[in-house]
Amino acid sequence: MSNNIDKILADLYVIDESLRDHESQLKDIIQNILASRPDVDIDRDFEQTLRTELLTRAAEIKKGRQDSKFTINSLLMNKKFLYGIGGAALCALLVVPIMYYSGAANLQPLALDLNPRLVQAAPNAFGALTVAGGPNAQESASFRSSAGGGSGVAMDTAATPVSDGLGGDGRVASDMIVAPDVEIKYSYSGEEVTIDEEQMLVLKRLKNGFNDQQLAGILQRMNFNNLDLGKFSNVQVQNITLVEDRQYGLMLNIDFVEGAVYISENWRQWQAASPVCSDEGCWERNRLQYGDIPADDQLIALSNDFLNQYGIDLSSFGTPEVDNQWKLYYERAEDKTSYYVPEIVSVVYPQLYQGQPVYDESGNKAGVRVNINVRVKRVTGLYGLRSQQYQSSLYDIETDFARIKAIAEKGGRYPIYYYQPNVSEINLELGTPTISYVQVWKYENNESHELMVPAMVFPIIGSTADQPMYRQNVIVPLPKDLLNDFGQDGPIRILPVEPMGGDGSGAIEPAIIEDTEI
């Protein structure tokens, strides 16, 4: 403020030098006027809402300028439609030149902003970070897929993603697992880590879906002869799927609600990627071997080439790394010759926040995932490409390190308490934790919301061959709201453990089904 006042005074003296004689008074006056200014700021929710309304209004204005009609035939005959799929530039500004019609302006680009942007909201703006109904009502797709153990197959998220709130990748997994037969005990013997702040920012991804008014208006003008789309009111475009009709062609799914783009194989054009076998011997002969998997640098190069070809700019993400979890299980397999070597391997571009990688609750790095078919050395899919606009809001966090340590030593927010009889123990050491951010999902009112919350990340030091499920880190989210349900059943529920068989073998008697006459 002092510099500002000096500038104001300097301007005044240029106009009237005599005012300099009263500098002290003038300073007081100006300071008092500045102090009397109302301390107010724009409401961030209002700001965001108005922004959306203005974009809608902009689309309406443009729509009002478009009045030409076209038929489905002219669309299919349009070479640019096909060219747009094959060579679409999916860069920070996603262009979807999918159709033209006579006499009108080109479609405007749909902005897919991959550069993180934050809009600050009031403290606790997102309400309770857990949802009504308890932790079992929560879904954590990535947690489930990791908890299921490793066959080594890369997490190839949904080929037909949905936007109806079933979680970030559309995966709906069973929420029950068989009680583990190995109990993992974590221990931390390092120094206490002090957390200075009592509040930290929680981020909520804004589902800034693509503005579809323009496209909806165009589609409604399509002439299906027997069906007049113009009769439908308040039409919105939620989802569009495009396919490359060529060998190894891709499928492009644009989710207008989530503001996301998914790329996967056009299955019909990937037949040549898999051997055609009708007997076990054929499958065995064509099974991939460990040495068939390209080196990490080759896989990353393949992935980067794909991104460059399609103009996808991931410069705001971290250094790419190959997901080699399957190799850990391979090394532990007794019979390596019959171990299934995956045909799909992922390259992960970690999402970053404040220069640190963002994790999922199972301790893996979250971000954009590029899947590569190692048999034909081609990219089969890309997931995690969505707008990176977030609201941020301050929340109270846990600062009692003893409590955080206790949660970490239980394996995280959702410890497993039920085990098979005669369970064996594995002891793993936790390394010095760091504070980073973790993805959690809040499922509310039939909609999933992606949050990024501060967390303490404990690296797991060393692993054993007996470890049933490979984990790199134990994550403890720090917002107090999320730790309130610690100790209850998490989203992973345990199937009831049946009593042991009479011979003590632990065999569980199969259910007896009575034959009924039909």
């Binding site: 008092n32 500045l34 108005l50």
Partner: protein, 182 residues
């Protein structure tokens, strides 16, 4: 991108680029309006109206007529005037100028008294003088921008501000002298 680049994009049909201008000026315009109406919901309504008008008329904006910043502040000012013309009191900008400061701030009794004196004396000044002071000190506009908003030359705006401050100083000095001799 500069404001000019964004405006050119809007004017060539990429109206969604207006959102970038909105991002830059939303908070400033909101504060400008709030300082003068002192009610959150009214300020939000008028802010919304201002930007809607700007969007709908972006095609008419010409850089030769001034900066975008001044242009949108003018829209906001006119929106305020329209608002008060439809208000019961049916007053213009004078009503805006006459709204007193809500003396609702923490601080020593003495500080509050001094602030109250400044504000009380400002009420005796002409509305145009008060507006120039607020545009310069509260809204932190440059003299050039003030000139474009109020429709006068930059030189006359500087002079007006200088005189307003001088009058304020003289008036407070007299007031102080009066109090000391009581």
């Amino acid at each position: 991108m500069t404001d000019g680049d964004i405006i050119r994009s809007c004017q060539s049909g990429e109206l969604e680029q207006f959102a970038q201008l909105y991002d830059r000026y939303a908070a400033k315009i909101y504060k400008y309006i709030y300082y003068r109406v002192r009610e959150k919901s009214t300020a939000e309504d008028l802010t919304s109206l201002t930007f809607t008008k700007a969007l709908e008329n972006i095609g008419k904006y010409k850089s030769t007529q001034g900066t975008f910043s001044a242009w949108i502040y003018r829209i906001a000012k006119n929106t305020l005037i329209d608002h008060y013309r439809t208000d019961k009191n049916d007053d213009g900008l004078e009503t805006v100028a006459e709204k007193g400061v809500e003396v609702d701030y923490e601080g020593a009794v003495d500080a509050r008294r001094r602030l109250a004196e400044v504000e009380e004396y400002m009420q005796t000044m002409k509305p145009e003088q008060q507006e120039i002071i607020r545009l310069r000190l509260w809204d932190e506009l440059s003299y050039q921008e003030i000139a474009e908003v109020v429709g006068k030359s930059e030189a006359s705006c500087k002079m007006a501000f200088s005189r307003a401050i001088a009058v304020l100083r003289a008036g407070l000095a007299i007031l102080l002298l009066f109090l000391l001799t009581q």
